[in-house]
């Protein structure tokens, strides 16, 4: 929308450029190219030469303005118009699951709860079969953020298990994907919670 509203301005600038070029060309239509490029016409006085020079500078200035404007528009588009670029998605996956039966996942970004998901038996089974669940999708500003993931479920010997994982997320311009992977640590007979970032 912003870009659309600035289109008339850009078109006017381009029209001015075109007019400027046309004027420059019409000034010396029959002269050889080497003369039109650098030298004023033989019969033109110093005043005409100055006028020609100032017109050329004006055109160059306009060209620069158009380029600056276009660059600013692009930055604005990146920051405001395409929320996908501020997008953050968090996925939950499970591997083996011998030492952990997943019950729920709670996510907090910068101390604000953004998701709380209870897994049914069927959903937990689907994760064990290789399914990946997108537990959260939202937008975050560029910069550093803290993600806290709290997992509840049953750990070894069917004991209630609650475990938190905290990571610092550096959000750049592009979309960010974070995978919370629950796997088994056979050596310790304990579940392991791995946080992996995808770009």
């Amino acid at each position: 929308m912003l870009r659309q509203s600035l289109y008339p301005v850009m078109l006017s600038l381009l029209a001015l450029l075109a007019v400027g070029n046309a004027v420059a060309q019409n000034t010396a239509p029959s002269l050889p190219p080497e003369m039109t490029a650098s030298a004023p016409p033989a019969n033109a006085g110093p005043a005409a030469s100055d006028e020609f020079k100032s017109l050329d500078e004006e055109v160059q200035g306009l060209k620069k303005e158009v380029l600056d404007l276009n660059r600013e528009l692009f930055v604005l588009e990146e920051e405001l118009l395409f929320p996908a670029n501020t997008q953050v998605a968090v996925f939950v996956s499970m591997d083996v699951g011998e030492f952990f039966a997943l019950d729920s996942v709670t996510l907090k970004f910068d101390d604000k709860e953004v998701a709380n998901y209870l897994y049914t038996e069927r959903e937990a089974q689907a994760l064990l079969k290789g399914g990946v669940h997108r537990v959260f999708i939202g937008n975050l500003k560029a910069g550093e953020h803290e993600l806290v993931a709290l997992f509840t479920g049953q750990g070894p010997n069917t004991r209630d298990y609650r475990r938190g994982a905290t990571i610092k997320v550096e959000k750049g311009v592009g979309a960010k994907y974070i995978e919370l992977k629950i796997s088994d640590k056979a050596v310790k007979s304990q579940p392991e919670f791995i946080v992996k970032e995808w770009e």
Binding site: Y117, L118, T120
Partner: protein, 158 residues
């Protein structure tokens, strides 16, 4: 007797009739989690109740009778308790005393009671096999269970 929880909400639960039933996942008394959308294809009766609600105490054994009779025909009944989390033990005890055999769920965050606009206790909601709310009953008076049965039979026959 009708107990009003939050009259300020102002929106009657009956406005849900004809709308897709809001999905939810809640923890049950047994400890497992239950998700409504996993019961698509069944006729579902949801009953919201609280320990402080007298009519609920009266209604629950009657609902259990209905559940015993129609569960084999495809009826699923969820009883959603809306007490504060600190009162869940009392709710568990009440369900045990009343010997209800259907799943009792806890609405810990009150998200579900908000989604179903449960401002009156008890609240009974009937959902058809397509997941659409077909009948809502607020409060309880003697004889309401006959209405539930009539509506249920209609939905089970669809």
């Amino acid at each position: 007797m009708v107990l009003v929880l939050a009259p300020a909400l102002g929106v009657p639960a009956s406005t849900l009739v004809g709308q897709p039933a809001p999905d939810f996942a809640l923890r049950s008394v047994q400890g497992d989690n239950v998700r409504l959308s996993e019961h698509s294809g069944d006729v579902v009766l949801i009953n919201f109740w609280a320990t402080w609600c007298g009519p609920c105490r009266q209604e629950m054994p009657l609902l259990d009778e209905i559940y015993g009779k129609y569960r084999r025909a495809g009826l699923v009944l969820f009883s959603v308790n809306i007490d504060e989390p600190g009162n869940f033990d009392a709710a568990r005890e009440m369900a045990k005393t009343l010997r209800v055999s259907y799943p009792v769920l806890f609405d810990e965050r009150k998200d579900v009671s908000r989604a179903y606009q449960a401002s009156t206790m008890p609240l009974t909601v009937l959902i058809d096999r397509a997941g659409v709310v077909r009948y809502v009953s607020e409060g309880y008076k003697v004889g309401y269970e006959t209405r539930y049965t009539d509506k249920l039979r209609e939905l089970l026959n669809e």
